[in-house]
Amino acid sequence: MAKKVETQEMELIKGLKQVPQEEQYVPGHRTCQGCGPALCYKLVAKAAGANSIFLGPTGCMYVANTSYLCTPFAMPWTHTQITNGGAVASGIEAAYQVLIRKGKYKGKLPNIVVMAGDGGAIDIGLQAASGMMYRGHDALFVMYDNESYANTGIQTSPMTPYGGKTTFTPPGKAIPEGKKTFPKDAAQLFIGGHPAMHYAATASVAYPVDLINKVRKGLNYKGPAFVHIHSPCPKGWLFDAKKTIQVAKLSTPISTFRRRTSPSRSI
């Protein structure tokens, strides 16, 4: 007799006091001072809770967080290649569906969260992410967007805004504006092309309550969901480490982040 697959219902919060105190992303990593993506990881892990499986496609949050015999992840976590975060998530979700249906795993379906950087989500990892959303796997794809390939030394990515200065797009005499192309619109791209997808949102590390609620909404939907989380990178954007939240706040209403993304929306 096939067992029914039960999913978790994550509660939405109203204020900072309701943010869970349990940490799933604990000290022991080696990210830079004022790291936006690390803050993003911490908040998403709090939102998803203990019954979760996290996937880390290669990126700065893989290289700076895990080192052999040392880990900041208190939840089950696996590395995936930068190309295949979505594919691995699909496999894990399908495996848990079968294990629960056959009664080999007792408990509710874990929250499966892919924590991909902008390269692992919208550039190199786009094919696998698109496949996961197309097939309708019950997983959350989070893109922590620091607008560059920060792991390898701040190279341009499709999320780097027009005029961005990176090591691949240095402003000079020939090209004074630095980066000449406009960034991709990640949320629109995933919404527009994936009929099985029911939830997409954009969030910022400057607004943790909003971020946690959007992550939880995404997890509550039965099917693929996408959350684009803007996460400033002091090292890459060359601002003082203590100003991460300030920069994130300034980015959200006025800057390039707003121009290329639509507000949170469920279809």
Binding site: A50, N51, S52, I53, Y62, V63, T66, S67, Y68, L69, C70, T71, F73, A74, M75, P76, W77, T78, H79, T80, I92, Y105, G107, P110
Partner: protein, 211 residues
């Protein structure tokens, strides 16, 4: 078959009730120590291989040798040395050539890694010439031919009377190694065994005139 190979059980699943982390980053200074461990683990694998083959033979009622299998090598002067499915063709070739009086045999290699150095040296010491039939080339290698010839020559290096070894490239990219090819190889090996040296280290079947 289920008795030999029971259903797979993952010993370290991604399970929220027993959290584990998979695939962390290995830094440059951690690499050599990990490689040393892997190398030492590989040194321990022969015991496991022998046990697994013994279990398989017992359960399935077979008599497979774990490392090298000999076919009609009694009194043979020269042998084909190869791996995998082409051995079936080689056995037909050996049967046919034996009927015609050729002193030929077949030695089948079952494991490239861990390479059974002592076993290969022991078996090949009986022959005058060995022809490795290879389906994968190693561009610019020491013997200009395939990969197995390097291993075989290295394994035979310490023998007092080592056989002459040459390689035959055939069946690359999944092509069939034809019976005719084995007959031609046997002719070359026959000459090599009589002269005690090889004319070429590598012959490309279908491209060299003799093969």
């Amino acid at each position: 078959m289920d008795e030999f190979l029971p259903p797979y059980k993952s010993h370290l699943p991604l399970d929220p009730t027993k959290p584990s982390n998979h695939g962390p980053q290995i830094y440059a200074d951690q690499g050599p120590a990990i490689d040393l461990q892997r190398g030492q683990a590989m040194l321990d694998t022969p015991k496991v291989v022998e046990q697994a083959i013994a279990d398989y033979n017992k359960i399935m009622g077979r008599n497979y040798s774990p490392w090298v299998e000999e076919y009609k090598t009694d009194g043979a002067d020269y042998v084909f040395f190869l791996q995998g499915g082409h051995c079936k063709t080689a056995r037909f070739a050996v049967d046919h050539l034996r009927k015609k009086g050729a002193k030929v045999g077949l030695v089948k290699l079952r494991f490239m890694r861990p390479f059974p150095t002592e076993k290969v040296a022991e078996v090949l010491s009986k022959f005058k010439a060995v022809g490795t039939v290879e389906s994968s080339t190693s561009y610019g290698g020491a013997m200009k031919g395939g990969n197995i010839i390097h291993e075989v020559r290295a394994a035979c290096y310490d023998l007092p009377n080592r056989p002459v070894v040459t390689s035959f490239m055939s069946g690359l990219g999944g092509e069939v190694v034809e019976l005719e090819t084995f007959y031609n190889i046997a002719k070359i090996l026959d000459t090599a065994a009589k002269k005690g040296k090889v004319a070429q280290y590598v012959y490309w079947a279908g491209f060299d005139n003799d093969v």
